[in-house]
Each structure stands twice: as structure tokens, then as C-alpha cells.
């Protein structure tokens, strides 16, 4: 029986999850684990037009979000060979639903994606990580995008090595 890896994707972390898919698959391969990509959006509101006429009710919106998430995350995971991945979408409070999913799936490894965002989102992410770490026996890993290095403002030129202005530029 292979190990189980649960990847928790909360709203606002979709892009980070897609960008970190290489790391996720690397971990899954190393642990020889089956991957469950779990996406936890909030319960959607009914979609209305400008005259407040209902275009799509909550069920239709849920079906649309579930279909889109399954296609996007499933196809991004299927790019990599040798990793068995499935996608699950649960609507509601992300922290509570992620706890339920971790309890049901009983994974050995839980992967949480961390995106650099506002203070409230960080607090929410911290709460989720604490809950997952406390609730399950699994190890919690955080996948984060690499920070962009500070951009150089210009070429570094030492004044003593700069050729005088009247000399022609050297061509190597």
C-alpha cells in the first residue's frame, strides 16, 4: 500500500499551487505517494445579471467551479509521469473542510501552499497549518514560491577601471 499525500489548496493559492507543482510531484515521487489535490473554495453565491435575474444558481456555480478546478489541477498533475493524482473539491470554510478531508483521507504527508499575501491571509494560513499539524499524525510541509532576488539597479563599475571618455570602446 503506497503512502498518501494530501495537497491543500485554499482560495487565493491556486496560482502558487500550479507554480509549485514540480515540487509537489518531486515530494510525491520521493515518498512514492498517491496525491490528492484538495481544493476548498467558499460556497459561491448565485450568479445574477444586471437586472438581478438569476443566471446560475448556487448548484450550477458549484458544478462549474468543481469542473474547472478538476480540469486545471488534474491536467497540471497529469503532465508528470509516474504519479497517481486525483482532485477533490469541497465547498465551505477552508480550514474546517481541510480538517475533515485530512481526517477522512488520513494522509502521511500534508502539503500546504504558502503565498505571500496580506496579514489576514497569513493568519488564516497559519491557523490552517496549526490545525492540520495538531489534528493528524501526518507531517505538514509548506511549499512556497522562491523569493525573487533583489533586482540590480545597474552594472557594477569600479571607477578606477573605467576607460577614459576619449578612448574608443574596446571590442572583444
Amino acid at each position: 500500500m503506497s503512502a498518501r499525500l494530501l495537497a491543500v489548496i485554499t482560495p487565493g493559492e491556486e496560482a502558487t499551487a500550479l507554480a509549485s507543482m514540480v515540487g509537489l510531484v518531486t515530494i510525491a515521487r520521493a515518498a512514492e505517494a498517491d496525491v490528492r489535490l484538495a481544493y476548498f473554495p467558499q460556497l459561491p453565491h448565485p450568479r445574477v445579471d444586471r437586472h438581478d435575474r438569476m443566471v446560475a444558481d448556487t448548484d450550477a456555480e458549484m458544478a462549474r467551479i468543481e469542473r474547472t478546478a478538476t480540469e486545471v489541477f488534474g491536467s497540471s498533475a497529469r503532465v508528470f509521469d509516474g504519479v497517481k493524482a486525483e482532485t477533490v473539491v469541497r465547498f465551505g470554510n477552508p480550514t474546517r473542510e481541510a480538517g475533515i478531508e485530512a481526517h477522512v483521507y488520513a494522509p502521511q504527508i500534508v502539503v500546504v501552499f504558502a503565498a505571500a499575501r496580506g496579514l489576514l491571509a497569513r493568519l488564516r494560513s497559519w491557523t490552517l497549518r496549526r490545525r492540520l499539524a495538531r489534528q493528524s499524525d501526518s507531517r505538514v510541509l509548506v511549499l512556497a514560491p522562491t523569493e525573487r532576488p533583489a533586482e540590480r539597479r545597474g552594472p557594477i563599475v569600479q571607477p578606477g577601471l573605467t576607460p577614459p571618455a576619449h578612448l574608443p570602446a574596446r571590442r572583444d
Partner: protein
């Protein structure tokens, strides 16, 4: 006599508090350095030598757990995969493992 003693304690308590707090922070940092050295030794052994995996350990604080950060250049993520089990075995409870990959790497 008693009032002078109380005054001395009251006046010295902020200084003593700062000293105790700094001592606690220094101990936490030393523990984080030991964790980092342990993880680095394990990664070096798992990868048969020095590698491009950068390891950084942050000490835990009151409001957040400690963190062991692993970073590789873009395209070298399989190195983390090879050393992954060793890292998990050596990271103590109270520390999170943060893997930086993708995105801007």
C-alpha cells in the same frame, strides 16, 4: 530598608526581564543552528556530498513555529526529492519544513 529593597527590585526588573528574554532567544537560535547543522549533514550524506540545496533554519517564537527552509535553483528540484526523507526524519517537532521551488526560482 524594605522600601529600598522593593525600589531596587522594581528598578532592576526591566533590565533583568530583557536579559532573561535575550537568553531565551539565544538558546532558541542555538537550537535552530543545531537543527540546521543536523539537516545539512543528513542532506550531504543523502546526496553523496555538497549539493545545491540551500538550508536555512529559523528558531521558533511565541507566535509561530520554527522553520527549516530548503531552496534549490530552478531545475534542481529532484535534489530535494532525494533528500526529502532524511530532512523529515531530522526536523524535530515544533518546526515546519518549507520547500521553495517553482515560481521565481
Amino acid at each position: 530598608m524594605f522600601s529600598e529593597l522593593v525600589g531596587l527590585i522594581v528598578s532592576m526588573s526591566p533590565l533583568l526581564g530583557v536579559l532573561v528574554w535575550r537568553g531565551h532567544v539565544d538558546r532558541q537560535r542555538q537550537a535552530a543552528d543545531i537543527v540546521r547543522a543536523d539537516v545539512h549533514a543528513g542532506v550531504t550524506r543523502a546526496l553523496d556530498g555538497e549539493s545545491l540545496v540551500a538550508i536555512k533554519a529559523q528558531a521558533p517564537t511565541v507566535w509561530r513555529p520554527g522553520k527549516v527552509r530548503l531552496t534549490t535553483p530552478s531545475g534542481y528540484e529532484p535534489l530535494i526529492g532525494r533528500a526529502f526523507q532524511t530532512v523529515l526524519e531530522r526536523v524535530p517537532v515544533g518546526y515546519e519544513v518549507v520547500i521553495h521551488c517553482g515560481g521565481n526560482s
